[in-house]
Symmetry: C2
Amino acid sequence: MSVVNIAKTFERFSEHWSPKIVGELNGQLVKLVKFKGEFVWHHHDVEDEMFLVVRGSFDMHLRDRVERIHEGEFFIVPRGVEHKPVANEEAHVLLFEPASTLNTGNVRNERTKERLERL
Amino acid sequence: MSVVNIAKTFERFSEHWSPKIVGELNGQLVKLVKFKGEFVWHHHDVEDEMFLVVRGSFDMHLRDRVERIHEGEFFIVPRGVEHKPVANEEAHVLLFEPASTLNTGNVRNERTKERLERL
């Protein structure tokens, strides 16, 4: 039970698209992730996912539109909804999602992270 | 499914200690609340609670210590742990907790909010 400084924790890693676990509550995980470039289209069958932008901004591509999410904003992608994050510049994002969530959802490829580091 | 700007949503209300629901995912609620002054000692029997400070700072009193949580920091209070938030100046806080969570936990008094507004 300790206070987590979000900006300082982001300084502890540099890889993109590799979420780090920084908190756990009620079976949900709090993760920090750096986005840069284009991720893969995917969806999560049984998990809703929240993206809160701490620094920068990114575009959440959905099949019918693109939502730009700026610093200080959040967006919830409901289960089943296909999405693809794209960040032209590096963006720092806090995720809330169930402990069962795989970063690439229904897709498994070189971007998939099976075991996440805890910071 | 829309982008939520946290600072702008805080401008939509002024009451203290009255959480507003701004998001829902996986049976958990995202709430915004303004703290000012001293809250009541309480605990939650079956819910862990996350406090993320968006503006200002506050002191989380625990039975064995006090943790100061600043802007850009978060703190998770596990179920069963008694706590009392105290904010000398107004603090803007994002909460993440199960939909079942009552703001005053095991205590019911004039501070208890039975039905929360959705913004």
